[in-house]
């Protein structure tokens, strides 16, 4: 007679515990919905046309629009060309080129302005972009940065932690020294310092800044796991069959500590999304022309004084919902994968 039922592995057990937790499943559903929406926006299915100026400047959301419909779209402020053009300068070396450009662009610019909507489901920003599409597009940037930076940070932390914990001795001393150097500088100061030095904006730069400064937390945990695991019998068995150090570290031990890395990724994503928003808000993050939740909040700050609250509300609530769901899920994941902690 064969034993039919396999004993459930770590991941099966964790999934069972997770499924029993209703809050965790709801959070997972919200996170999955966000990720699907952002994947759709990244592949251009939705919100690809967010940069089209579809409405009048600061078009209000449809549910508050009814009373005060603005005057003709053409008269709106900052609609494009200023009303009183300066007198022609006969020495202007660019005059000829500009005239040519205006002639070719003339019709193209004038045309869409005529059919701008007076209101949108959730309003429009200064240039008349649809806020809903803009929020989706901004979320794409913020979440991609968060995920990529968390993957980089945990990757580095795992690599350093594996070497440090597995080899011990001088290697361990060196990485510990490196760790204490990085942790003695507050992370936000470290991020700003690196941003000052790099002097260039871009999504890749933010990912590098956050990833290269955020590896310390995962490092400490992974190192402790490797110290614990390297003396276990299965590692000795691997040693006996002549497995190389690299093989022992990453194909024997790593699967047994990978749950720690996964939990760290989910915790760091939350922190990095928040950090990206602050960096972009300050202007050290995404370049001009790329929209993120941070750059939306930056615009919204001035709009609020004018009473245009919808961009702030959209970016803030989208971020709050995603981050709440993500952190609830991260907590549940930690409890499910590491039941001892409870």
């Amino acid at each position: 007679m064969h034993a039919i039922h396999d004993s459930a592995g770590l991941w099966t057990l964790a999934w069972r515990r997770l499924r029993g937790d209703r809050v965790a499943m709801a959070a997972l559903a919200v996170v999955a919905a966000f990720l699907l929406l952002l994947a759709a926006s990244a592949s251009g299915i939705v919100a690809a046309d967010w940069e089209e100026e579809v409405a009048v400047n600061y078009a209000p959301p449809a549910f508050v629009a009814a009373p005060a419909a603005p005057a003709a779209p053409g008269t709106a402020i900052a609609g494009g060309t200023a009303p009183g053009a300066p007198p022609a300068n006969e020495f202007d070396p660019l005059a000829g080129d500009l005239r040519e450009l205006r002639a070719t662009l003339g019709q193209a610019v004038a045309e869409p302005a005529a059919e701008r909507a007076p209101s949108l489901p959730f309003g429009a920003d200064k240039w008349g972009h649809d806020i809903i599409k803009k929020t989706i597009k901004g979320g794409e940037t913020s979440v991609v940065v968060g995920l990529a930076a968390a993957a980089l940070a945990v990757g580095l932390g795992t690599l350093f932690g594996a070497f440090s914990g597995f080899y011990g001795g001088v290697v361990d001393d060196f990485f510990n020294w490196f760790y204490s150097v990085f942790t003695s500088i507050p992370s936000i100061l470290m991020i700003l310092t690196v941003a000052a030095v790099l002097q260039q904006k871009g999504v890749l730069t933010i990912v590098l800044i956050l990833g290269l400064t955020g590896w310390t937390g995962p490092y400490r945990l992974i190192r402790a796991e490797y110290i614990k695991h390297k003396a276990r019998e299965y590692v000795m068995a691997a040693d006996a069959i002549g497995a190389s150090a690299w093989r022992k570290m990453f194909s024997h031990i790593f699967p047994n500590v990978s749950h720690v890395a996964l939990v760290q990724v989910s915790i760091l994503v939350v922190g990095f999304i928040k950090a990206e928003v602050i960096l972009s808000f300050l202007g050290f993050g995404v370049p001009v022309g790329v929209v993120s939740w941070g750059s939306m909040l930056n615009e919204a700050q001035n709009e609020l004084i004018l009473g245009k609250w919808w961009q702030l509300a959209a970016a803030a609530s989208a971020m709050a919902v995603l981050v709440t769901a993500f952190s609830l899920f991260a907590d549940a994941l930690r409890d499910a994968l590491d039941p001892k902690v409870k």
Partner: protein, 300 residues
Amino acid sequence: MAPTLLGVVLLVFVLFNWVGGDPAYILAGKMSDAASIENIRRQLGVDQPWYVQLGIFLKQIATFDFGQSWATGEAVSDIITSRLGPSLTVLVPLTVLETVLGIALALAVAFVRGSLTDRAVMLACTVGMSISILVYIIVFQYWLAYKAGLFPVQGWGAGLLENLRFAALPILIGLAVSLAPTLRLYRSFVLDEVGQDYVRTARAKGLPERRVMWVHVLRNAAIPIITHVMASLPAMLIGAFLLERFFGIPGIGREVILAVERSDFPVIKAITVYVAVATMVFNLLTDLLYQAVDPRVQLK
């Protein structure tokens, strides 16, 4: 401590001297010629070999003389000393209030652990932590200061009392933002202690629950709480930069942002090194405090 400090110095040196590119191009601005760049390089000592430059940097740290700010020409040491006061005006009340409220609420929540109230408070904390600090600042500043006029919108004066009036709203916002994570953390510290044997003993000998919580449990939960408060103090000096920027408070945090915006390397270098030193000193102080709180702890 010494090797760590050396490491911080090396890290800052490498960041600014190799990763950062040639500072002469930043200083000379857009309209520069070879002669003026050469001149600036000689003045900064950038044309020297790297070990001479490292020597200059070490001498700057030892003598507290980082030269002048590239942007304003003010001495860097003057900038730091004059920005410290405003930062502390916000941070000292904020830290005291946060710690006291955090401990009181954590004990209260731990008292009813597992109940609906406990879970509701924890959920509220998670939601509160998920809203960006930017949103708190923008909304509070708009409603409480600009619309309702309860606080000054921004500004900074000369006297301490006047400044406390300006600091009131930043402190309130800082409290709203930091209380949720603090409460969650302190609650877990308290819950670690509640299951211990000495708590059962205290209850068994008939002590009221209030005394068990406030005297027996608090004394034992104090160690991780002290670690947390002490470790976060130096970081808070920088961490309040958003509050300082929005409310026009001339503190250290705002200075860092300004320096990053203007590529003012001497200021950033000086602040990074000193904050790292402060972090290490505070870690040492934490160890000394342990001994005062817990007589079992022995420092070797």
